[in-house]
Structure formats: structure tokens, C-alpha cells
Symmetry: C2
Subunit: 232 residues, 2 copies
DNA sequence: TAGTGGTCTAGACCACGGG
DNA sequence: CCGTGGTCTAGACCACTAG
């Protein structure tokens, strides 16, 4: 584990332990350097991490402060970790598991129409369906996949099982009306609202390894985003 | 202007000029250091900027590469600059301009129910309404506001006129059905889908200066997000 | 194994905030 | 004015990629 990640964890623990809230000030960078026995840029990297995660913000000439904390029950739209972690009591039903070539526009997002694992899943939280997902994973990049894996967290399998690092993603979103077949899965009515997301994920070397279409149940899904304009 | 911003602009110009596309490699960091006569961390800061903006990605031991470019007609969900810049032929109609205290939940997001400028606007692109907006700006923080300013870009006024720096934002989103009054403004039907966003913006010193409720027309708005897990 | 990005340090100086 | 974060440099060494 990198030094700045360790320091970031320690600072986060410090915030939790001391019950700091919005606007509370952290120790100065000089103090943190002494406290954790590291150089200035290591502290800065740690604080950058916490800034990107929406936990703190820096004010030049003044200090580093704690941001307002997010609300419960909202899913992050932007983080690439997948949301299996933050869900309460999640279950996944695999509707279809096959090998096929992706149709447009997913093939465009993947920059290829090569043969992929195709997985259609319905994901639930506390028994309530919140997203219908159709994913394509190129076999060339993800050499093995199974229905059993798809019933759990595919991203955890890719990260921990295949030891591949997920680095960035492109998302294209719009709101529209549900089609009848989608509504049936999501336990809603045809014509009800939904959020449709085309999501493409890339490995650390820039290869796209997953292009998915997600359709969210409007009653069972809420989203948040905490962004920050900030360089080290 | 900061050195790393200048360098970032030059690198971006280099990408444009040489028509680099997804997967194309930039010069090495050592070469960029020589080329632009700056230290390594300045180059790294410049590349971090471009990474955060979804333009490049780094691969350890290999190089810096160009990301796929975004699609046209999509609005960024996460960038804090406001979207007046990327819209085609934008117009704004001020529906209501008043001074009042924010109701819940906006007062909670603002962490205050003090007196604010209240502005209700309908924003159009190429004549088509795409968002209905209700915003609260605390008078204590934004001392002056006018209907004329609200007809243009309020964020540009805050940045350029009031010389205040916008630093981060919290967004809470969900999809729902339109109410009759909203539908009338957006030229849709009651019960049609919409995206509802509660958006709170903060200045560089951490003060929230704007809490807004946005309701997007599902036919006239599409969104994108290009995220990246990356530290300097 | 050579080349490239990644981490980390020490230190100089700058720019801003607030008393 | 002082203290704080911000920028920038030079340089050592590490970790990974690819031929």
C-alpha cells in the first residue's frame, strides 16, 4: 500500500474519531508532516485523495476543512468501484448468460464488435428491483466468465480474481419512458420514467473491457455526485 | 496563469494539432520537461488536469495516452462551470425574481434558511426548453442580483463580476414524473419522465452560495460523465 | 533490461486569509 | 504581518511495461 494512501486513511480515521463535521479544520500540513513523518507532497497526495472522494476541501492561506457528508440511500454515479459495496442486502438474478457480439451502440462504445460474454441481470436491493443491466465483456480481455460469477460482483471478480485494475469510465445518460418488457422486470408500468445509462469501463492500460446498458427503476434508485475542482 | 495550466493548454493544443485519437501516445514526461522547460511535477500537474477533464490517461511503464472523445450534444453532469458554454443558442426566461427564505430541503442543503434571492428560470436550447430551475442565493453572500443578470449566466457574474471562485458541489438526483405545472413550462405532459437534481454549490472558502432544484426535460437533455481514478 | 511513469523527499519561494 | 496552503525545482529511487 502506498504511503499517501496510508496517510489518507489515517486522516480519515482522525476525522471520524474526532467527529469532525462540515467546516471543521484539520491540522495544518506542517503538523501532519510531523505527525505522520512524511514529506509535504505525500501529505498533499493524501489530501488530494480525500478531496477527490468528497471528504475535505482546501482553502489557500487558511486550512483544510471537512465537507458536508453525503446522504444515505444515494448511489454514486461516478465512482468506478461498482456499487455492490454500498447496497443494503443486494441480490442479483441472471436473466441471460450467453456469448454474442454487441449490437450498436454498445459496439461503438467498445470500439469493437468482437465476441463477448453477454450478461443480462436484474439487481435488487432489499428485494426491490433497482436496475436492469445488459453487459458485454470481450472474451479476448475477460477470458473466463460464468453464471455463478455473474450472480455476484463481476467487478470484484475482475479486480481480485483476474488482478486487473479498473481505471476510468465513460457514461452517457438520459431519461426516458420504460418499454413493456423492461417494466415487467422492474415491476413498474410501461411508460413509467427511467434513467438509461450507457457505461463503458476501461482497464489501467486503456482497454475497454465492459460496455453496458443500465436501466434504473425510478422508485428504487437515487444518485449523488460530490465533485471538486482541485489539483494537488 | 499558473505554469501547469499553461503547459496543460499547450499539451491539449498539441493533441488537437496532431489530431491524436483514442490510444495515441503523447511524448514522454522527460521529453515534455525538455520541450516546455519545466520540472517533472509541473508536467505531472498539467497531465493531472487533463486527466481530470477526461482527455488523457497514464499507464505506468508505458506512457500517457489520449482518451476517447466525448459525444456531441451531451451535457456534463459534474463540471462546476455551469453549462452555458457548451449549449447551442441558449436563452433564458426569468419566470420569477424575488427575495425569500428557502423551503426544505433546499434550506438543509444550504445549511441555513436566511433570506435569499429566489430565481425561477426556464432555460432553452435552440428554442426548446431543457431545464426548469429554482435557485436560492443567500443575500449575505451574493450581495447584489438582478433580473437582467439572471437572464444571462449567473455563474459568470459570480466568477467575473463578484470575483468569487466556485470550488465544489453536491448533487442529489432522481428520476420521477412531472407535475402538471412543471410539464406546462417544459412543454411536456403531466406524468412524463424527468430528472430532478438538487444542486448545492460552494465557494473556494467552503461557503454554500447556491442551492437549486433543477427539473430536466427528458427529450431535450442528455448527460455524460468521464471519470478517472487518478492521483498525480 | 532499458525506458517510462510513480513515489517520495527537502527546500525555496509565492499567494492568499485573517488577525 | 504571520501562518497557511500553492507552485515549482532537482533529484533519488521504485514499479511496471514491453521488446
Amino acid at each position: 500500500m502506498k504511503k499517501y494512501e496510508l496517510v489518507a486513511d489515517k486522516i480519515k480515521a482522525y476525522i471520524t474519531k474526532n467527529k469532525l463535521h462540515h467546516g471543521d479544520k484539520l491540522p495544518t500540513i506542517t503538523e501532519l508532516m510531523k505527525e505522520y513523518q512524511v514529506g509535504k507532497s505525500t501529505i498533499l497526495q493524501a489530501i488530494t485523495l480525500l478531496t477527490q472522494r468528497g471528504i475535505v476541501y482546501k482553502v489557500q492561506g487558511s486550512g483544510v476543512f471537512v465537507r458536508p457528508t453525503g446522504r444515505d440511500g444515494y448511489m454514486s454515479l461516478t465512482d468506478n468501484a461498482g456499487f455492490a459495496h454500498v447496497l443494503k442486502d443486494p441480490t442479483t438474478e441472471v436473466i441471460e448468460f450467453a456469448e454474442k457480439r454487441p449490437p450498436k451502440p454498445l459496439s461503438e462504445y467498445l470500439h469493437s464488435d468482437e465476441v463477448c460474454y453477454f450478461i443480462k441481470r436484474l439487481r435488487r436491493q432489499e428485494g426491490k428491483p433497482f436496475v436492469l443491466e445488459e453487459s458485454y465483456y470481450p472474451k479476448r480481455i475477460i477470458p473466463f466468465m460464468s453464471k455463478e460469477i455473474a450472480e455476484g460482483s463481476i467487478f470484484d471478480y475482475i479486480k481480485d480474481g483476474l488482478k486487473k485494475e479498473i481505471r476510468f469510465s465513460d457514461k452517457y445518460m438520459r431519461v426516458r419512458k420504460l418499454r413493456a418488457d423492461e417494466a415487467r422486470y422492474l415491476e413498474l408500468e410501461e411508460g413509467d420514467p427511467c434513467l438509461e445509462v450507457y457505461d463503458t469501463f476501461y482497464l489501467a492500460n486503456g482497454t475497454p473491457f465492459d460496455s453496458s446498458k443500465l436501466v434504473y427503476n425510478y422508485q428504487n434508485s437515487k444518485f449523488y455526485d460530490q465533485s471538486s475542482d482541485d489539483i494537488i
